[in-house]
Symmetry: none
């Protein structure tokens, strides 16, 4: 996929767009009719990603999108009523993925091209002539009071949305541990902790309505809901063993 | 929801964060321990959104999140292996929405608060002490070759994802609130429980490597990771108060 910046003005924004591309794994950048000095400044900035130095610079948008099968424009629509299909960003991103990889999920190499994503200048956005090259236009859903996004941030949000896999992440895995090497205790281990806590509660004559249930159901549910990992379990068992020991010890001395 | 920038350095990034907030309808900004001159410059920039001038400026992160029931940290994990749950951004955003509006979809007024979204400084990101206040940490899925995002762009992407609507919230509801009517304790209440546990540990001379850290960081992280609800908190406080009473009582008799 080609990211195309049409007449960008601020070198910092050009750099920010390039950085977002690097963040999300896009490599092909085209700058159309840049303001010459600003472009030179952006390109020579310290730490500029390679893709910025390797960007195509073209005079016209027509050349930039010549080989593309799907051209997506971006912008707010406050002043314009273009004829093209207007898509929310999630739908537009799905179309881009579909156009890039018909029938496939997103590949690690996102440089296949033939799709272009256009951003206009900070001042005007895409002109209606620019938009005339577009198959569809996407609008990021922003507040009416401040609809216009900064160029670098708009690029970041669009590329984030396009690069998302679209597949639901298996919530349970990362919600529990975040990492695969962090093990959860099994039911039996949790029950051992529950027994220790119950013993402690009995030792100190602690009984609330919420914890009193004869079969320890409330405590069992609590421990499963909190989902301590193995290390947590060891710490808690250690603490309650130590408390019980101390209570017995104090008792013997009395 | 509160957006919290911890020790931001670049005035342009502070401004960009504020602009993204305005774009996506968030209004409450807190700056923790900013570099004074940079903050003044950011605040007085031409065209700065009102929310930037109205931002809270606080000395410590503890104050910033004191009344929050769900604190979400952001960052890359290249150097760190935090203990908290690590969530992909879509899952984290769903949890934030759920914590803000249990059982409801996102309302137009997103300023309810009690949820904080933390961003670290451009240089270091969030430190491990910063992360110890977090219930979960989210990582934007970026390329291995250029994982680190610009601060303003990271804010934009996170707020875009949090403010997106129209999708079913995933089935991980119970990790945030259990049920919609089950409230979470705020940061200050968790700290009171932590103090009680620390007192108990001291009383019984319990110290493991995993819990020994001088400033109670490990315990703070543990409690936030387990996410007890209000009722759990009351039970735990009750139990530890009772244990402490019993220990003192036994001691007196001996």
């Amino acid at each position: 996929m080609e990211v195309v910046l049409v007449s960008p003005r601020n070198p910092l924004n050009i750099g920010a767009a390039a950085r977002a591309m690097a963040n999300f794994g896009f490599r092909r950048l085209t700058i159309v009719a840049p303001f010459a000095t600003n472009w030179t400044e952006a390109k020579s900035a310290v730490g500029a990603p390679d893709l910025l130095r390797e960007a195509r610079v073209l005079e016209t948008l027509a050349e930039a999108v010549a080989d593309c099968t799907f051209v997506l424009g971006t912008g707010s629509l406050d002043r314009r009523r273009p004829e093209q299909t207007i898509l929310g960003l999630p739908d537009a991103a799905a179309q881009v993925r579909q156009a890039l990889f018909p029938g496939h999920t997103l590949s690690p190499d996102r440089s296949n091209g033939r799709v272009a994503l256009l951003f206009g200048s900070e001042k005007h956005g895409l002109t209606s002539e620019d938009l005339s090259w577009c198959h569809a236009i996407t609008v990021i859903d922003t507040c009416d009071t401040q609809p216009s996004m900064n160029l670098g941030q708009a690029v970041a949000v669009c590329l984030y949305e396009i690069s998302r896999s679209g597949e639901a992440t298996p919530g349970n895995v990362n919600l529990v541990t975040g990492e695969s090497d962090r093990h959860l205790p099994d039911s039996e281990q949790l029950d051992r902790l529950a027994s220790l806590i119950e013993e402690t509660m009995a030792s100190v004559n602690y009984a609330t309505r919420g914890m009193r249930s004869a079969n320890g159901e409330a405590l069992r549910v609590l421990l499963r809901r909190l989902m301590p990992n193995d290390a947590d379990l060891r710490r808690m068992m250690g603490l309650f063993r130590r408390i019980l020991w101390q209570l017995r010890h104090s008792g013997n001395r009395s």
